[in-house]
């Protein structure tokens, strides 16, 4: 005999799981939508004045990552963000928003500048990841990402990071260590792309959808895991549907988060930011410690 109530409960559960799965895949696609607003689209709408700071003063100017001095609600801030390109020529020039080490060196330069003048730092995260090329490796990609993370750890000025599209791996984290971390509703943030995860764990990049469901790169999951502080609403249909509305929603959230970051006493910011990230992680405790007799 089949009990109808049990069957209904089982089906409802399956529908709920399906709904979450389709929401996850929607976010992956919306985060990568070719019309999604990029850092410069928001800079145009949020800042009254802006001056782009170019070059790492050592090797070149990496256009995949932009830094600027900008005026935000009457005060000067340093803005740092990945920048994808809109058309093929610009995408090629900006390496699809994948920085080389010189991009991160430029970011460190901008953090140091902010630190000298006490300007708050606003970052906009939107990259598939740091560029995985031979030249990037030869010029110390890993070390420069590590140094950028360290520079953000050490800053005593307020820092607010917002994931506005793809928060891809270490290339994203390099500019995302902040007092307040926000994520747009349909942005994604993950340790590896769904395709990369599928290629390694499923041994088939075609299983990206499965990988995305398994590792849940969504804003909701990041909030639940304590990795971000705020989810920023997007207009119906996604951020690309209405750039102005999207910028207004981001502005509201950004002002709030910046006010919270500014309320932290400067002398405590470095320690509190470190404590914030120290608390991230989930683990258990074994009953009997092993290796005790080593």
């Amino acid at each position: 005999m089949v009990r109808v109530s049990d069957e209904v409960r089982r089906l409802r559960k399956r529908f709920e799981a399906r709904a979450e799965e389709s929401q996850i895949w929607d976010a992956v696609q919306l985060a990568r939508h070719p019309d999604r607003p990029y850092t410069l689209d928001y800079a145009e709408r949020l800042f009254s004045d802006a001056f782009e700071l170019r070059g790492d003063r050592a090797f070149s100017d990496d256009e995949a990552l932009i830094t600027m001095l900008a005026r935000y609600h009457g005060q000067t801030v340093v803005a740092i963000g990945h920048q994808k390109g809109r058309d093929l020529a610009e995408r090629t020039r900006r390496m699809f928003g994948m920085p080389h080490p010189e991009g991160y060196r430029k970011a460190i330069r901008a953090v140091e500048l902010a630190e000298r003048f006490g300007y708050p730092i606003l970052t906009f995260v939107d990259t598939p990841g740091a560029y995985p090329g031979v030249k990037a490796e030869e010029r110390g990609q890993a070390g420069m990402i590590a140094r950028s993370v360290l520079a953000f750890c050490q800053a005593s000025v307020p820092v607010v990071a917002t994931v506005i599209g793809e928060g891809g791996s270490g290339g994203a984290l390099a500019i995302a260590v902040a007092d307040r971390v926000q994520m747009q509703e349909n942005a994604i943030y993950s340790v590896i792309s769904p395709e990369g995860c599928a290629a390694i764990l499923w041994k088939d990049a075609g299983q990206a959808k499965k990988a995305a469901f398994a590792f849940r790169p969504t804003a909701r999951a990041c909030l639940d895991l304590g990795v971000i502080d705020t989810i920023v609403d997007e207009p119906g249909g996604g951020a690309h549907a209405d750039l102005d509305a999207s910028a207004r929603l981001l502005d509201t959230a950004l002002r709030q988060s910046l006010a919270e970051a500014e309320a932290i006493p400067p002398a405590q910011r470095r320690a509190l930011r470190r404590a914030k990230f120290r608390a991230m992680g989930v683990w258990g405790v074994a009953d009997e410690p092993t290796n005790q007799d080593f």
């Binding site: 070390g143 750890c153 943030y189 120290r278 410690p289 290796n291």
Partner: protein, 313 residues
């Protein structure tokens, strides 16, 4: 019909897609018993190839006998995402613990090198490819806390394929967490020495492992953010055979030294001397220096560099 290969050493190699025995040298195909390898610090006696070393054996090689005290050994990975790929994450964890006897891919604690106290954080590649998850982050932080509290140096030895995908975003956050720990060392002026073993890649080399006050590597280790396969598949570029290897990293200015395993303990001892305060004259003259190729006490070697030989009792 394929000809029968009569050279026993050659058939033991991994050519033709065959599986190689873990004690067969991948570069010269010499084969060793496990105790022979252990005795030679897992360095091939024929060609100098450096085999992988487990965390506990590495600690034995590096530290004074009996000086190691582990911390955070009770920590175990949780499964916050209830992650299942081809197998559940919890199954993989169980297998890894049974295979290595370790609770996770990093062992933290304190010990002494030639009588000098140091905190240590040593990775084991055999535990899920040395992947970095929440437990690794916490154990590294515990080692850093200990170094700060006792004002003793921290030495890490890394071997990792990168972040642990099964913990996704929390694994990524361990980069920020461990760099924060390095920052806490820098804040109080405690030295951090990073030893990179084969392979140190992905999130580990892009965080704490690159931030040592001194960074050294074992010979032939792959040290890169993206591995050669990822580079070739993503960019279509060809990678040279020495791509990302210790020796090219040294040439490109990413390392302070390439140190063969036989010299590692001696070099670390030397660095601990160099990082010690000036007024603290080293004692313990007759400390033997077991297990390394050098029979000269590194303390004496360093003092000798400055023309300051010590009297032998």
């Amino acid at each position: 019909m394929t000809p029968i290969e009569v050279n026993v050493e050659r058939t033991a190699g991994d050519e033709g897609g065959g599986r190689r025995h873990p004690n067969t040298c991948p570069s010269c195909r010499s084969h060793f018993r496990d105790d022979e390898l252990r005795h030679s610090l897992r360095v091939c006696a024929q060609c100098g190839h450096h085999f992988a070393v487990g965390a506990m054996e590495r600690i034995e090689q590096m530290l004074d006998p009996g000086s190691f005290v582990e911390i955070g050994s009770e920590l175990r990975a949780a499964d916050p995402l209830a992650f299942v790929d081809l197998r559940p994450y919890t199954d993989r964890l169980l297998d890894a613990e049974l295979a290595t006897g370790l609770g996770d891919s990093l062992v933290a604690g304190s010990g002494q090198i030639v009588g000098r106290p140091t905190a240590v954080a040593v990775m084991d590649f055999a535990f899920m490819g040395g992947s970095m998850g929440s437990v690794l982050g916490e154990r590294f932080c515990l080692a850093a806390d200990l170094a700060v509290a006792r004002r003793i140096p921290l030495i890490s030895v890394t071997a990792s394929g990168g972040a642990r995908m099964q913990e996704n975003i929390l694994a990524l956050m361990q980069m920020a967490k461990t760099v924060g720990a390095v920052d806490s060392l820098r804040e109080v002026g405690v030295p951090y020495i990073s030893v990179l073993a084969h392979p140190t890649t992905g999130g580990v080399i892009a965080s704490f492992a690159s931030l040592g006050d001194v960074v050294v590597a074992e010979p032939g280790a792959l040290l890169s953010f993206a591995g050669p396969r990822v580079v070739e598949q993503t960019t279509g570029e060809k990678t040279a055979p020495d791509f990302g290897r210790s020796e090219s990293n040294l040439r490109l200015g990413q390392l302070d030294a390439v140190v063969p395993r036989r010299e590692l303990r001696g070099e670390l001892a030397k660095l601990l001397v160099l990082f010690s305060p000036a007024e603290e004259e080293p004692t313990g003259d007759n400390e033997p220096l077991p297990q390394t190729g050098s029979d000269e006490n590194p303390v004496d070697r360093v003092l000798g560099m400055f023309g300051l030989g010590r009297k032998r009792g």
